[in-house]
Symmetry: C2
């Protein structure tokens, strides 16, 4: 068993279970969530017969070709996703990285037994016009308590609309600077914007990176460049796109090349900004993921991000760091970009997924001075913020960020060892915390690994062309890591 | 009291309350929601001192200039919105038309006492990949049960992203027709779309109307033309925009002119489609509201919509009817366009607001054949669908659509009478069901009416430049209508 190769790990004692600190073997550890099964168990091919029947049924109502299985969310618990054919899967993908505390966490099941909370959920207000009494307090105590150094918050519904609206803040801030603080809108601007023409609808751009994913609505899709099938046939803004660093691994053996790669990409960014301005399309903002997630878990160095911020500042463009997938703890810090030691916080940080609702933090300069410029009916959802409140409480009380770092180290050490054992199958292990990825030698091999992992009871995910990505919940523990590593090792050993 | 001018109305007996059919006076009617106050009551200027303090607090965290008051959602009940200064307002605006059953409806408060429902809420899946067992059944029994004749459903989060994604379906369907059913993507398309260039990112347009509102994300904002402040400084797709009919009122006295207006606008639509095609930007779809809501409650005739659909068909463009604000009953039918007697259902109908979650119904032709083309992490929210399930149950069991027609007639009759009494103050009463509007003579007068109505305990809303819009909940009853009419009459009488 793989876990025998690792030293025994001491679990901290935790208030939610009775056990005291104890040395634990891989499969006998006390669980952070009571009632978790000890092991995955697979009874049918996946999707199983019941899932297949439901996929057929769903397909009569919508394009259901992306469905992998139907889940039983009454039975799913902690890190284990149970499907309708009673297969029990260790979930290392967590609903595309959107489940921070696993399934049916007692802290979350409790939220709406409180009558006030239930009424906040059911009486969903137009938050921009008639917010409930405790909304400012909740924004402050919940969202602001984990802000990456940014004082303002705009709440939204999902990642795409967070990015879309944040782009608007970037455009608005850029034009305000151009006008000077006191400049009113001209009559011409007011009139031309109504017919989508300049100067009211100005030729401004958001610079993005090849391989990026920022969403699928038309503005955010114009900055998404991960897969053709996401983009084909959809009109796009013709905005500049720079190359994101493509590192060689292992990093420590390729330091010089990778530094060169950073420099090349940064020079291209600066060049594109200048060119775009000369062509009459100034770059109002740069949008970047701290780790390009959908595009293949492509990482870049802290130096790259620090320099990128300096370039943005130099050219009067805002820097938006998209933490929709990386935010809320999986890298071992609340926000991945906190690993970068930037000169100052980014201008905007967007979030969604594990945060339950979309939104963004931003600077004073990014706050529109006029009303109704960034606005919609709901502006978020108080019910989701109540769930987030409990999630953040559990993250703090259970020291889950520290847990993520520890488990991440264990996983990364294990996968790096597989790289050495199976160099023809795996390469380029990378990532932070449990937000990890490794490349398979080929794309079909990657798909084959994921499918065989699933038959061993591991729900994994892919990204980019070659990568297997790990996206476990923040409550993933040593024994879960060992189950994953054991299964992955078997899959690799069984590969012809 | 105004109600004395109307004949007494017979309320149907209803299973949810004990009363049997009875003739009721305006203020003594049995309420559809138990515990409603009998009257509005206003104790402070609105916003009151507590609201003002909270607005200040919120303004340290975000642009809070749009907030009218802070509400107490524990105390709000039925048609009455209670604010934090204990002002009790009859809500004729319902959170920008998004609350179908008023506040704290018992049917909604019950939904999450069921353990299975609670788990569906808390374990929010990536619906496109790991839906819960009952998702297809819920889509069918809840959403499909009120479909306007369209067999497919895509669920989303909000109105903007419903329109954004629906536009993608229009583009995809248009290009599929161009390619022929069997055509694969060319290598060139696959490559160029990744850099936002044609032919992969094609020059295709969505035709929209002046005065329209379809959302505020970049794609939907390109089809929104209601107010400059929504659009200024934000880049837009330069798509064609046609004039929406601007009718003269009363309709029955201006039939010929209004028919001419329809014809002029329809000719412009056809002309723009042809011109756009000649300019290399074919129109893939037309997006239109059945009543332009944010833009001023501008209505158009059934004939206009029938002919618009024929034009769309003739030119191979899809017709998208945006029912985000009009859908779910306020016009007396589930969908406003059902008043139009179209030749066939529209290609796409989008919804949100009262429906609790965003989404759209569509035809077979609008369903992408390939996977992952219209997709995102959440693809809606099962928790919201559970609320909608109960809302639709109550609409059916309480015959609320019939109720809306009846109350709408009462309101419209009353407002038309005011038009006659105060022709220098009001004109152009219009709308369907309780989805009604009337123009004030000037824009400042409109704002003044709304503000004085509020001090009499009526929460109203404006739209466009001159309109007061009514957006009561579907549980608005005779006595509520009479309270509104009484107060409005007082406001008009007190106008110097």
């Amino acid at each position: 068993m793989f876990s025998k190769n690792l030293s025994p790990i001491i679990l901290q004692s935790r208030s939610t279970f009775q056990g005291i600190s104890q040395a634990v073997g891989a499969r006998t550890a006390t669980n952070l969530v009571q009632g978790e099964p000890r092991n995955p168990s697979v009874k049918t091919p996946i999707p199983g017969p019941r899932s297949k029947k439901l996929i057929e049924e769903l397909n009569t109502l919508q394009q259901a070709g992306t469905v992998q299985l139907f889940a039983d969310y009454d039975k799913s618990i902690g890190n284990y996703l149970v499907d309708v054919d009673d297969n029990v899967l260790l979930d290392c993908f967590t609903q595309i990285s959107s489940v921070p505390l696993g399934y049916n966490h007692p802290a979350l099941l409790d939220v709406f037994t409180d009558k006030h909370n239930l009424k906040s959920l059911v009486n969903r207000p137009a938050l921009g016009v008639f917010p409930g009494e405790d909304w400012p307090k909740k924004l402050k105590n919940v969202l602001l308590s984990v802000s990456p150094g940014l004082p303002y918050i705009t709440t939204m519904m999902c990642g795409s609309c967070s990015n879309e609206n944040a782009y608007k803040n970037l455009f608005i801030a850029y034009r305000r600077k151009e006008r000077g603080e006191k400049g009113p809108f001209t009559q011409q601007e007011m009139e031309t914007c109504m017919i989508n023409s300049a100067p009211g609808s100005p030729n401004l751009a958001i610079l993005s990176f090849h391989g990026a994913f920022h969403g699928r609505t038309l503005g955010s899709l114009s900055t998404t460049h991960s897969k053709a099938i996401h983009k084909i046939d959809v009109p796009a803004f013709n905005w500049p796109i720079a190359h994101f660093p493509a590192y060689r691994y292992p990093l420590e053996e390729n330091q010089r090349e990778n530094e060169q790669e950073d420099k090349k990409c940064l020079a291209e960014v600066e060049d594109l900004i200048e060119k775009s301005k000369r062509n009459g399309v100034p770059v109002a903002g740069i949008v970047v993921e701290p780790i390009q997630s959908e595009g293949g878990d492509n990482e870049a160095s802290p130096e790259f991000f620090r320099e990128l911020q300096r370039i943005a500042k130099r050219h009067g463009a805002g820097l938006l760091i998209d933490e929709v997938q990386t935010g809320c703890g999986p890298t071992g810090k609340m926000w991945c970009h906190e690993h970068f030691n930037l000169d100052s916080p980014p201008d905007i940080v967007t979030f969604s997924k594990k945060m339950q609702l979309g939104g963004y933090y931003h600077t004073e300069a990014m706050k529109p001075q006029e009303t109704y410029r960034v606005f919609n009916t709901w502006m978020g959802d108080p019910g989701k913020l109540l769930l987030l409140e409990q999630i953040l409480n559990v993250i703090k009380s259970e020291n889950l960020l520290q847990q993520v770092q520890k488990i991440g180290d264990r996983l990364k050490t294990g996968i790096l060892q597989f790289e050495k054992e199976f160099p023809h199958l795996l390469n380029s292990t990378r990532g932070r915390g449990t937000f990890l990825a490794v490349n398979a030698a080929t794309s079909p091999l990657r798909d084959d690994f994921l499918s065989r992992l699933k038959q061993k009871g591991i729900q994994g995910g892919g990204c980019g062309d070659h990568a297997i990505r790990l996206r476990p919940a923040l409550i993933f523990q040593e024994h879960h890591a060992d189950i994953f590593l054991d299964s992955f090792r078997q899959v690799l050993k069984e590969t012809k």
